[in-house]
Symmetry: C2
Subunit: 105 residues, 2 copies
């Protein structure tokens, strides 16, 4: 009945929070420690740590231990799953634009 794609569940729900999207943008520019990230937000260390756990489960980020720091960076192919999901619909809406273009010309 309903297709079972747990990864898409995690991925999209992870992307649905503005703090997490902001974190994603930051770590996509450069690798950052959890402390580095915390400085930019008006919430506790633990809250950011939790957001990072959610993002890790969604395979949006990866962590690498460096001494006592956890360095966070964009996961390889972080958004590939989402992009592949959209692909099927992209054809559809590009099709519509093609039709529109055809009408105009």
């Amino acid at each position: 009945m309903v297709e079972y794609a747990l990864h898409l569940d995690f991925l999209f729900s992870s992307l649905s929070d503005p703090t997490r999207r902001d974190i994603l943008a930051r770590v996509s520019r450069r690798e950052l420690s959890v402390s580095d990230l915390v400085q930019h937000y008006n919430m506790s260390f633990a809250a950011i740590s939790k957001h990072l756990m959610v993002m890790e489960r969604a395979k949006l980020i990866v962590k690498r231990k460096e001494g006592r720091k956890q360095m966070v960076s964009l996961a390889p192919d972080a958004l590939k799953g989402a992009d592949e999901y959209l692909e099927q619909y992209r054809l559809m809406w590009q099709g519509r634009y093609d039709k529109l273009d055809a009408l105009i010309q």
Copy 2:
């Protein structure tokens, strides 16, 4: 601090549920009434009705009244917001593949 993009919140959180993704797939093929949709799922009419309200808020679907039926179809540009969000990252990961290609050749 955190960019405010409520539509992306609604859009991604709407996409994070497998039932809603399934509904999206169905109505993208053809316009369907709420009753038509309910038949395919093992949950109450009200539950599906709620899912549709969530999807409407996310502008994934539109409803059109036809007598006592509500006909549901894919919204124009339903996934455009998501696609535009991914766009910035797409350049990034395509960049990586280009680098990889360069290494291989």
